[in-house]
């Protein structure tokens, strides 16, 4: 998948919070908090067992504020500085826009819905992201999970969804793109 020779041969062990640790508060203020490369969003799912044994599927979806600003014109005063107020007032719209592009099902006859839980801001190495927290709820306890991801593809086909699934000690990762917008996961 990657060039075998990239100079990053070692791995990051940060209790699954790899993204958060890449982000780092040092991003606050200049000179770090600027956008740069192509558009990425980070979709992390984790599966754990509830008290009665049914799987609970929780998600955190980090979407770059600058990408959201482009499609939703978030910078209300157009001054080039996106403030918390400008984001906060548009949270509902941000959520509606994003969740319309993400769908789950657990096979025929087992529909699933995305239930928004809360939102935060999450700092990444290339800027601030909206962090959307949600739960996936299916009609019956799912054995598998199908995911369909379309975020930003219509306005920027070079957008990628960096997907991570944590289930117990296992981690699955994938790169979601217009050519590979669906995932089929065995739980």
């Amino acid at each position: 998948m990657r060039s075998p020779a990239s100079p990053r041969p070692r791995r990051l062990g940060v209790n699954g919070r790899w993204r958060a640790s890449l982000c780092a508060a040092l991003i606050q203020g200049s000179p770090y908090a600027a956008a740069h490369s192509a558009s990425d969003a980070y979709l992390n799912l984790s599966i754990r067992e509830s008290a009665h044994g049914a799987p609970v599927i929780e998600g955190q979806w980090d979407i770059a504020l600058r990408d959201l600003a482009f499609v939703l014109d978030l910078d209300a005063d157009g001054d080039g500085r996106l403030t918390w107020g400008e984001v906060r007032r548009r949270w509902t719209e941000i959520e509606t826009y994003a969740y319309r592009q993400l769908h789950f099902d657990a096979g025929p006859g087992n529909a699933c819905s995305v239930e928004p839980r809360r939102q935060s801001i999450d700092d990444h190495a290339d800027g601030a992201y909206a962090a959307l927290f949600f739960e996936v709820q299916c009609a019956h306890a799912p054995q598998r999970l199908n995911l369909d991801y379309r975020l930003f593809f219509a306005v920027d086909p070079s957008h990628r969804g960096i997907f991570t699934l944590q289930s117990g000690r296992d981690t699955t990762t994938a790169v979601l793109s217009p050519q590979n917008a669906s995932l089929h996961l065995a739980l």
């Binding site: 062990g13 993204r19 956008a35 918390w84 920027d156 000690r169 296992d170 790169v175």
Partner: protein
């Protein structure tokens, strides 16, 4: 006519198919499939960690975004409106896509190549693809260092419209980047035939700076400038940049600097020029000036690498943090499946991670893709640092064959000869 997008900013490169990696094991390495340099690897302090948070003040600035007050942004907005009003109109699509690519290239932001691609997508999907769309897509792919794909589209575009000077110039530039100077020479002739003598002359002059005729290159470029051959600010800045490069080949540092400054006066934010001038300053051991020069360009990965290099050269307290962030940016690119941005990565490994083996491997792989003087230089420097002088043989042979001039590369080649001699002496 636009200056060609050579030495594209950040190769994003081909997207892989979906790959699922199942990593089992130690949960403390929870995200094993996604890799990033650890703090320990980079000998940096542990990254300041902050969990997702709720800002407390409405006026807290979370993110810089392009401001409407920027004329380039206002123009894109205007073109977007025009395009939205007539989404079937090819001309307004091309105008918008071109504006996106130009802006992205200027500020070193790859998002805009993606926006441009979305605009031309309907025409790319239908047959036959108009030549202007083939050219626009080729430009985007070249920007992402997808050179073979870009070349294919340029040929297709020229097949449709052999009189497109922009396509010939783009192809000539691609061949220069990849070191095929014979092909580039022919394409420069086509630029002359299809555009005007001045642009063709600039093309050929640029070519000469790679093949042992840098003095001639400078004289020809000066002639183009003197005759007012380049009309637009962008083209004038491009030619000033080429003159700076030709002066570098000759080792005439004051002249190179004068041309970089002249180019930046014309295009103060141009990422390519900023980075090239920063490299010049780093070579001249003037890292402090790099920080001032690039203060407004931290959003670009290529610029950020030069800031990190300057911080390291200054032994500043922040140096390790800049290196760490640069590594995190590479890791993010890697996670998205961008497989190769070799020149920057090789330099990062060589100069900031002090890992000559990895640097050599990256530099050699990069050299198979692009062969500009910096690419050549990195192979030589890495081979020397890794004490593997013979690993540079192929590159040295290329240098001899094309008669590449460059005092810094000459010194490296000389050192490699000595190192190879010592090695041969030690192992008879």
């Amino acid at each position: 006519m636009h200056p060609p997008y050579y030495s594209a900013m950040r190769p994003l490169s081909a997207l892989l198919g979906l790959s699922i990696i199942l990593a089992t094991g130690d949960s403390s390495a929870g995200s094993a499939a996604l890799t990033a340099p650890t703090a320990a690897d980079l000998a940096t302090p542990a990254p300041p960690y902050r969990a997702p948070y709720q800002p407390t003040r409405d006026d807290e600035v979370l993110q810089e975004v392009p401001a409407i007050s920027d004329p380039a942004v206002a123009r894109m907005t205007q073109l977007r409106k025009a395009f939205n009003a007539t989404p079937q109109d090819l001309r307004s699509a091309i105008a918008l896509a071109t504006a996106y690519v130009d802006y992205g290239r200027q500020v070193g932001d790859a998002h805009y190549a993606g926006y441009a691609e979305a605009v031309i997508a309907p025409w790319l999907a239908a047959q036959p693809v108009p030549s202007s769309v083939l050219l626009a897509e080729a430009t985007i792919l070249q920007y992402r260092h997808q050179f073979p794909e870009a070349r294919k589209l340029l040929h297709a575009s020229l097949n449709e419209d052999p009189r497109s000077a922009q396509a010939w110039l783009t192809l000539a530039t691609l061949d220069m980047v990849q070191g095929d100077y014979t092909a580039a020479g022919k394409e420069c002739v086509q630029v002359t035939n299809t555009a005007d003598v001045a642009l063709g002359l600039a093309c050929s002059a640029n070519l000469r700076s790679y093949t042992g005729h840098a003095a001639q290159s400078l004289a020809l470029l000066a002639q183009v400038q003197a005759q007012g051959g380049a009309q637009s600010v962008g083209l004038r800045a491009w030619i000033e940049g080429l003159m700076a490069e030709a002066a570098l080949r000759l080792g005439d540092w004051p002249l190179a600097e004068a041309h970089y400054r002249a180019a930046l006066q014309l295009m103060p934010r141009d990422n390519f020029l900023l980075v090239a001038y920063a490299d010049f300053l780093l070579d001249r051991l003037r890292p402090r000036e790099v920080l001032a020069l690039l203060a407004g360009a931290v959003q670009s990965d290529t610029a950020f690498l030069r800031i990190a290099l300057a911080q390291a050269a200054l032994h500043s307290a922040d140096a390790a943090r800049y290196t760490w962030i640069m590594a995190a940016r590479f890791a993010a690119l890697s996670a998205r499946g961008s497989d190769f941005f070799g020149r920057e990565q090789a330099r990062f490994a060589l100069q900031l991670q002090q890992d000559p083996q990895v640097a050599l491997d990256l530099a050699r792989r990069n050299w198979q893709v692009q062969r500009e003087p910096w690419d050549t230089r990195l192979v030589l420097a890495a081979a020397l640092a890794a004490a593997e002088p013979r690993a540079a043989d192929e590159v040295l042979e290329f240098r001899r064959r094309v008669k590449l001039e460059d005092p810094i590369i000459d010194d490296l080649a000389q050192e490699l000869r000595i190192a190879a001699g010592k090695l041969a002496g030690a192992k008879p």
